[in-house]
C-alpha cells in the first residue's frame, strides 16, 4: 500500500516537517512494515530561474555547450545573474527553468557545488526531469511554462521550485499483513499513524474537508424507490451469506468528458494507480481513501433488478480483463434481473455493463461480500483485483453507504451530475461479536504490567466499545459471603470490536492490540527455565558423527536440491521397473525437467560434482547427508480444518499418507586421492577409496559390516559391493560408476560413488558398546599364501581363514593377490597375514603353527585352497 504523505495529512495531524522516513518508522512500530520510500529526495535551493543570456560555445570534443546567465532573483544572495553551463538546447532567452544552486542535493545524494567546467565556473545546474527524478528525459531541461502549463503563470525568478514541481511530495510504501484489510486504505493507515504517534485523527468515512472546511459526510437513508436489489444466495458457504449488504446510488446527467481533477489524478498516481476517466478514478479514489471497493454501471445498460446469486453450472462471463471464464457454482455473481451476469461479486465486473465515454447516468454499487467467497473465487479463477484483495481480508461492513455517498458527492462536484434521491441499502449485516476479556490477560500473556485503565484505554483508542463485566454475569460471581464479587466482575471486560476490525475475534487478538499500541519495545527480556532436556537424540548425533568422519576422510559436504526428472533415472541406468523410479511427483514443479522428489541422493549429487569440475576443480570428493522420499501406496491425506484436534483415526490417516523419508548419506569422488608433488607420486581415487569411506562411516559408528559382491545400477557390474549388517540387512552400496553412467552424467571415467541408508546405521548403532580388557602378551605373526580358484571371492576365503584360525587369531589381513603365469589361468594366489595373541600367555611357536595350519586346512576344505 502506497501512502502519499500529503493525503495522509488530510486524515491525521502529521506534524509539519515530518519526513517520509519518520512516518515509515512510526508505522513500523504498530506493525506496518516499510517497503519503500518515494520522492522527497531533492534538497534546495531549487528555484525558478529566468534565462537572460545563452552563449553557445563549440568545444574541442565536437560538443556545443551553452554558457548561460540566469536570473534567480535573490536566491543566490546577491541578486546578480548566475553563470551556469548547460548542455541542453531546448530552451532560449526568456524561458523559466528550474535551477539548483550550490548546496542543493539531487536524488542519489548528488551534491551540487560551483565547479569549473568548459572554461567557466558553473554555479549550479539547470535541471532535466531525469535529474530531478520526475521522468526519464535527460536530453532536454524542464521549461516550466511547458511543464506546468497554466500553472506557470505569475512565476518569479528566485521562487522555490520544490513545491512547484511536487518534489516535496513523499510517498511511503508499507506492507499490509493479511489480518489488516482496513489498512488497504488511507483511512486505516491514518488511524494506525494516530495510534502510533497520538496525532489527532479525522475519519474520512465521517468527515470531508472541502476547501479547508470540515463537513460531515452524511449518507441518506434507504428509500422505497431505490434500485431493485435482491440478495438470493441459496448456497451460502458455511452458512455465511455471500453478500450481506448492497447499497446502490444513482447519479444522472454526468458529463462523460469531464476531466479528473488534477489533485485526484496526482493522488491516484502517487498511490500507484493510473488515472483513466472521472467515473473510474472516483471509484478508485474512494477505495484508496476509505477501503471500500465499489463498482459503477451504466444505468441504461441495466434492466434491473440486480440479483446477487451463486453461479449455475455452465454459466460464463467475460471479465473486464477480456478473459472469458467458465463459472463455478460456488462463485457469487452480480446479475441483471437474475439472468445476465454482470460480474464476479467482489472480484471483477464484466465488460457488458461497463461505464463508457458516453455514459451519463450511473448506478453505483457499494456492497459487503463474504471474505471466504471472494477468496475462493479469486483463487479459482487466478484473478486478483484491488477489490478482491480488500474483500478477502475483510471490509468494514458499515462503510458501504458512506463510500457511496462520497462517490456521489465527488461525481456531482466534478462530473456535473445530480444525485438521484433513490437509495438502496439491502441486506442485513451481523454486528461484531462481543469478546469476554479478562483484564489481566495482557499482563499474563505479555509479561508487562498493564493496569486495568491502560487496557481499557488502548482498547477504546482502537475503536472498541468496552464495558465492565461479562455480558451475562455468571451467578457464581457473587460469593456467598458477599466478598470477591467486585473482584470477579472487575476482572472481566466485554469488548466489542469496531466494524473495521473483523480480525478481532478472540481474547489474544485483544492482547496483541494492547501490546502493540503500548509498544512491543516495553516487553522485558526474561530467559525461561526449561525443565532440562536430554541433549541430542542418537539419530542427530549419528548424522553429525558421519559428517565429521567423511570430512575427516577428505570429502566436502554439499547440499543439493532434491528435485529430479525421469531422464536422470535413465542416465543412472535404472531399469524400467526399478523401484527407485517410483518417486513423489510435484503438481507445480519449478521446472518440468525435474518434477520428482529424489529417491536416492546419488540422483542429484553428481550435479554438484559436475559444477565443481566445470569451475576448474580436478579432484572432487563430495558427500551429502539428507532425506530421500519413498512414496508409499498412493494415499491421500485428509485435511481437517483449523482449531480442532482430529480424532485418532484421522490423525493416523494423515500420518500414514506422508511418504517415508529416510536419511541417507551419499558420496561421489573423482580425480586424485593423493596428489603428486615434491614428496613423490600421486594416486588416483579408485573404488577402494569409496569402499573405504563407506567403512569409515560404519567404523565411526562402531557398526561391523559384511560385504557381498553385487550388481546394481548405477555401478560398474564388476566393481560394486553391497554392505550389510551381520544379520544381512542392507546398509548400502559402494563402487565405481558404470562406464555408461559416467558418460550419461558427464563425469570423468572411473568416478566412484556410494550411498548408505543412515536409518539402518542409526538403528544398528543405538546400543552401548562393551569394552573388554586388553591383553598384555605379545602378538605372534604368520603369513600364508593360498592358491584357489578365481571363482572364490576374497571375502569368502578370508572368512574361512578366520574361522579356521580359531580363537587365538587377533586379526587377519589380505595383503597380496597374485594372478599370473606361475599358477593356472583360473587360479589366484592370496597372501594373508595372521596375527595371533592370547589373553593369558605368550604363545608358543607350536601353538601359532597349529592355528595357522588349521586356517589353511579350513580354507582347503571350504574352497580347495592349496598353500603355496
Amino acid at each position: 500500500m502506497r501512502v502519499p504523505l500529503d493525503w495522509l495529512r488530510e486524515y491525521a495531524e502529521v506534524p509539519a516537517g515530518t519526513t517520509g522516513t519518520q512516518v515509515a518508522a512510526d508505522l513500523v512500530r504498530v506493525g506496518l512494515e516499510e517497503e519503500g520510500l518515494h520522492g522527497g529526495d531533492v534538497q534546495g535551493p531549487l528555484v525558478v530561474g529566468r534565462v537572460l543570456e545563452v552563449t553557445p560555445e563549440k568545444q574541442k570534443n565536437g560538443k556545443t555547450i551553452n554558457w548561460c546567465q540566469v536570473d534567480v532573483g535573490e536566491a543566490n544572495g546577491t541578486g546578480e545573474p548566475q553563470g551556469i553551463v548547460c548542455g541542453a538546447h531546448n530552451f532560449g532567452v526568456g524561458d523559466l527553468v528550474p535551477v539548483i544552486l550550490p548546496g542543493g542535493v539531487l536524488p542519489g545524494n548528488f551534491e551540487i557545488s560551483a565547479r569549473k567546467t568548459y572554461g567557466h565556473v558553473s554555479a549550479g545546474m539547470i535541471c532535466s526531469s531525469l535529474e530531478l527524478g520526475l521522468g526519464d528525459d535527460h536530453d532536454g531541461i524542464i521549461v516550466l511554462t511547458d511543464w506546468l502549463g497554466a500553472g506557470a503563470e505569475g512565476l518569479e525568478p528566485g521562487q522555490d521550485a520544490i513545491p512547484l514541481l511536487g518534489l516535496d511530495r513523499e510517498t511511503v510504501e508499507v506492507n499490509v499483513t493479511p489480518d489488516r484489510g482496513y489498512c488497504f486504505s488511507l483511512r486505516g493507515i491514518a488511524r494506525e499513524y494516530s495510534h502510533s504517534t497520538g496525532a489527532a485523527y479525522r475519519d474520512p468515512a465521517l468527515v470531508r474537508v472541502v476547501d479547508g472546511q470540515e463537513q460531515p459526510l452524511t449518507a441518506p437513508a434507504a428509500t422505497a424507490d431505490g434500485f431493485g436489489v435482491e440478495l438470493r444466495d441459496e448456497a451460502p458457504l458455511d452458512g455465511v451469506q455471500g453478500c450481506d449488504r448492497f447499497v446502490t446510488r444513482i447519479v444522472r446527467g454526468l458529463d462523460p468528458q469531464a476531466p479528473t481533477p488534477a489533485w485526484m489524478a496526482t493522488r491516484l498516481t502517487e498511490a500507484g494507480m493510473r488515472p483513466i476517466s472521472l467515473a473510474v478514478d472516483i471509484s478508485n479514489y474512494v477505495m484508496l481513501a476509505l477501503g471500500q471497493p465499489t463498482h459503477a454501471y451504466d444505468l441504461h445498460k441495466l434492466a434491473g433488478p440486480i440479483v446477487v446469486r451463486r453461479a449455475r453450472a455452465g454459466e460464463r462471463l467475460t471479465t473486464l480483463d477480456d478473459v472469458e471464464r467458465a463459472l463455478d457454482p460456488e462463485d457469487l455473481l452480480i446479475t441483471d434481473g437474475g439472468e445476465t451476469v454482470l460480474g464476479l461479486a467482489g472480484v471483477m465486473g464484466g465488460a457488458s455493463s461497463e461505464v463508457s465515454d458516453t455514459t451519463t447516468d450511473v448506478l453505483i454499487e457499494a456492497a459487503h461480500f463474504d471474505p471466504r467467497t471472494v477468496a475462493r473465487t479469486s483463487r479459482r479463477h487466478k484473478l486478483t483485483s484491488e477489490a478482491s484483495k480488500r474483500f478477502e481480508r475483510g471490509v468494514d461492513h458499515e462503510l458501504a453507504p458512506q463510500a457511496a455517498q462520497l462517490i456521489v458527492e465527488l461525481m456531482v462536484e466534478h462530473g456535473g451530475g445530480t444525485a438521484d434521491p433513490a437509495v438502496t441499502d439491502a441486506g442485513q449485516v451481523s454486528p461484531p461479536e462481543p469478546i469476554t476479556f479478562e483484564v489481566s490477560m495482557p499482563t499474563r500473556y505479555v509479561g508487562v504490567d498493564y493496569p486495568r485503565e491502560r487496557v481499557v484505554e488502548v482498547l477504546e483508542t482502537i475503536g472498541c466499545t468496552v464495558t465492565a463485566g461479562a455480558e451475562v454475569t455468571p451467578a457464581e460471581a457473587t460469593g456467598a459471603d458477599g466478598t470477591g464479587s467486585a473482584g470477579a466482575s472487575d476482572g472481566i471486560l466485554t469488548v466489542t470490536p469496531p466494524s473495521w476490525r473483523p480480525d478481532l475475534t478472540t481474547p489474544p487478538d485483544l492482547v496483541e492490540e494492547v501490546a502493540r499500541i503500548d509498544g512491543y519495545d516495553q516487553i522485558p527480556s526474561v530467559l525461561p527455565t526449561a525443565p532440562g532436556g536430554r541433549g541430542l537424540t542418537h539419530a542427530q548425533r549419528v548424522r553429525r558423527t558421519v559428517a565429521a568422519a567423511l570430512a575427516g576422510q577428505g570429502l566436502d559436504e554439499v547440499l543439493t536440491y532434491p528435485f529430479v526428472g525421469e531422464s536422470r533415472f535413465d542416465d543412472l541406468g535404472l531399469g524400467a521397473d526399478d523401484h527407485r523410479r517410483h518417486a513423489v511427483r510435484l503438481a507445480n514443479p519449478l521446472s518440468d525437467e525435474a518434477p520428482l522428489m529424489r529417491t536416492e541422493l546419488l540422483q542429484t549429487l553428481p550435479d554438484a560434482v559436475r559444477r565443481n569440475l566445470g569451475r576448474g576443480a580436478k579432484d572432487v570428493a563430495l558427500f551429502e547427508i539428507d532425506t530421500v522420499t519413498l512414496p508409499d501406496l498412493a494415499r491421500k491425506a485428509p485435511v481437517p480444518g483449523v482449531g480442532v484436534k482430529p480424532d485418532d483415526a484421522v490423525l493416523e490417516e494423515i500420518l500414514a499418507a506422508v511418504p517415508h523419508q529416510p536419511w541417507h548419506v551419499a558420496m561421489v569422488a573423482t580425480g586424485q586421492a593423493e596428489r603428486a608433488g615434491w614428496w613423490g607420486a600421486g594416486r588416483a581415487t579408485d573404488v577402494t577409496d569409496v569402499v573405504g569411506w563407506a567403512h569409515a562411516v560404519c567404523d565411526a559408528l562402531g557398526v561391523s559390516v559384511e560385504r557381498r559382491q553385487s550388481e546394481r545400477e548405477p555401478f560398474h557390474p564388476g566393481r560394486c559391493v553391497e554392505l550389510t549388517l551381520s544379520d544381512g540387512t542392507t546398509i548400502g552400496w559402494a563402487g565405481e560408476l558404470h562406464p555408461k553412467v559416467v558418460k550419461a552424467l558427464g563425469v570423468p571415467d572411473r568416478t566412484v560413488a556410494a550411498e548408505l541408508d543412515l536409518e539402518v546405521l542409526i538403528a544398528a548403532s543405538d546400543r552401548r558398546a562393551q569394552g573388554a580388557p586388553l591383553s598384555n602378551h605379545p602378538p605372534a605373526g604368520s603369513d600364508i599364501a593360498l592358491t584357489v580358484s578365481r571363482s572364490v571371492s576374497f571375502g569368502d576365503l578370508l572368512e574361512s581363514v578366520r574361522a579356521g584360525a580359531g580363537e587365538l587369531l587377533e586379526s587377519v589381513r589380505l595383503f597380496d593377490v597374485y594372478r599370473g603365469d606361475q599358477i593356472g589361468d583360473d587360479q589366484q594366489s592370496l597372501a594373508f597375514h595372521l596375527t595371533f595373541r592370547a589373553d593369558d600367555r605368550t604363545l608358543t611357536t607350536e601353538e601359532v603353527n597349529a592355528a595357522r595350519d588349521a586356517a589353511v586346512a579350513r580354507a582347503a576344505r571350504d574352497h580347495g585352497a592349496v598353500q603355496r
Binding site: 506493525g31 493479511p178 492482547v511 527480556s525 570429502l555 536440491y561 491425506a637 499418507a657 608433488g677 615434491w678
Partner: protein, 364 residues
C-alpha cells in the same frame, strides 16, 4: 717376527722392547687422531689394535718370556693396548657424533610450502550453522525435534490455524504433491514441527526444529526454493512474550555477538497471536552508524517471525489453552549464516562449490 724358541735361551724380542712399545703406541695414537671419518678410524683400528697390529703381536710374545720377565712385559703391553683402545673409543664417539649431526643437516626438508598431498574435507557451513543454533537451544535445556520435508497439508497449514481460504495460505508459494488434492505439500516452514511435537510429546514442551523448507521461488541472490529454518516452540504454564524475548536475546547473543539484543515489531502470522517480526541488533554498528552497509543504517537486521502460540494451534494438538500458553519463533538458517559469516550471495550456499566450504573450518 720371532722364531721358535729352540734352544731355550730366551731371546730378548725387540717387539717387547719398551721403546718399541712406546713407539707403537705413539703411532697408533697419531693414526687415531688423524682419522677424520669412521672409515679411517676403522682402518686405524685394524692397523693398530687389530689381531695383526704390532701391539697384538707384542702381546703374543709375552708367553715366550721367562716367568721372571712376563709380569713386567705383560704390564707394559697391557697398558699400551689400553691406552690405544681408549683413544679409539673416544675418537669413535667423536666421529659418530659428527656423523649424526651431519646426517641431520643432510636430511633436512624445506617444509615452508604446504604439502597438499591429501585433500582436506569440510563440513558445509550451513549445516554447521544449523547445528550451532541447535546447540544453543540444547544449552538452554531444549530438545531438538524433526519433521518431514514432504509433509501433510494439515500439519503445514490447518494445524497452524491457516484456514483453507485465508490469504496467508495463498501467500506461501507452496509446492503441492501431485495430485494437488493429495493433501501433501513440501513444507513451507518448519512450523509443522510445532504441531507434530505437541501431538507426540504434549505439554510442557521446549523444542527447536531445524530443517529443510521449500517455496516456489526462483533462485537468486536472496531467494532459493529450498532453504532451511529453525523453529522454536515453548509451551508451559505462565510463559509470556517476555520469555520469548529472553530466548531470542540469548540465541542472538550466542550467534552474533555477546550482548546483542533483539527487537520485536508487530506482525501477523496465523499460528501466533500476538505476533511479531524479530530483528537482531546490527553486530557491526550496533545502531551507531547511519551509513552501515550491513544493516543499511537502521541498526537492526530482520531475522524471522515469532509470537504467542495461537489457541487454535494448541486446540488442534489437544492442548488446553486455559492451562498452557507459550511462544514460537522461526528464523532462516541461511540468513543467520549470511549475516554471521558475511556472505553476500545465497547461491553460493546451495551450489556445492568446494571453494565455498574451504573458506571455513569444521567449526564456524
Amino acid at each position: 717376527m720371532s722364531g721358535p724358541n729352540t734352544n731355550y735361551d730366551p731371546v730378548e724380542v725387540s717387539a717387547l722392547d719398551p721403546e718399541q712399545v712406546e713407539a707403537n703406541v705413539a703411532d697408533a695414537l697419531s693414526a687415531i687422531t688423524a682419522a677424520t671419518s669412521l672409515e679411517e678410524l676403522k682402518a686405524a683400528r685394524i692397523a693398530h689394535a687389530g689381531e695383526k697390529s704390532p701391539l697384538a703381536l707384542a702381546n703374543r710374545e709375552i708367553g715366550a718370556l721367562p716367568p721372571s720377565a712376563k709380569a713386567e712385559a705383560g704390564k707394559r703391553v697391557g697398558q699400551a693396548r689400553g691406552q690405544v683402545n681408549k683413544a679409539l673409543a673416544t675418537r669413535q664417539a667423536e666421529l659418530e657424533a659428527e656423523r649424526d649431526e651431519r646426517i641431520l643437516v643432510e636430511e633436512a626438508m624445506d617444509l615452508t610450502v604446504r604439502p597438499d598431498r591429501r585433500p582436506f574435507g569440510h563440513r558445509h557451513p550451513l549445516t554447521l550453522t544449523a547445528e550451532r543454533m541447535a546447540d544453543v537451544m540444547v544449552g538452554m535445556g531444549w530438545e531438538i525435534a524433526e519433521g518431514p520435508g514432504v509433509e501433510a497439508e494439515w500439519f503445514n497449514f490447518d494445524a497452524l490455524n491457516f484456514d483453507k481460504d485465508h490469504p496467508a495460505r495463498q501467500m506461501q508459494d507452496t509446492f503441492f504433491v501431485d495430485p494437488a488434492d493429495a493433501g501433501i505439500v513440501l513444507r513451507t516452514h518448519t512450523s509443522p514441527g510445532q504441531a507434530r511435537s505437541l501431538l507426540e510429546r504434549g505439554a510442557p514442551l521446549y523444542v527447536a526444529v531445524p530443517g529443510k523448507t521449500f517455496r516456489t521461488d526462483e533462485l537468486d541472490a536472496t531467494h532459493t526454493p529450498v532453504f532451511h529454518q529453525m523453529e522454536g516452540l515453548a509451551i508451559d504454564e505462565g510463559l509470556t512474550m517476555a520469555h520469548l524475548k529472553g530466548t531470542l536475546d540469548r540465541l542472538a547473543s550466542e550467534l552474533f555477538g555477546e550482548g546483542l539484543k533483539t527487537r520485536l515489531r508487530p506482525a501477523y502470522f496465523p499460528f501466533t497471536e500476538p505476533s511479531a517480526e524479530m530483528d537482531f541488533q546490527c553486530f557491526v554498528c550496533r545502531g551507531d552508524d547511519a551509513e552501515c552497509r550491513t544493516c543499511g543504517g537502521t541498526g537492526w537486521i530482520e531475522w524471522g517471525g515469532c509470537g504467542m502460540v495461537n489457541h487454535n494451534v494448541l486446540r488442534a494438538c489437544g492442548i488446553d489453552p486455559q492451562r498452557y500458553q507459550g511462544f514460537a519463533f522461526g528464523m532462516g538458517v541461511e540468513r543467520s549464516l549470511m549475516f554471521r559469516n558475511h556472505l553476500a550471495d545465497m547461491r553460493e550456499i546451495i551450489e556445492g562449490d568446494v571453494r565455498f566450504n574451504a573458506q571455513f573450518g569444521m567449526e564456524i
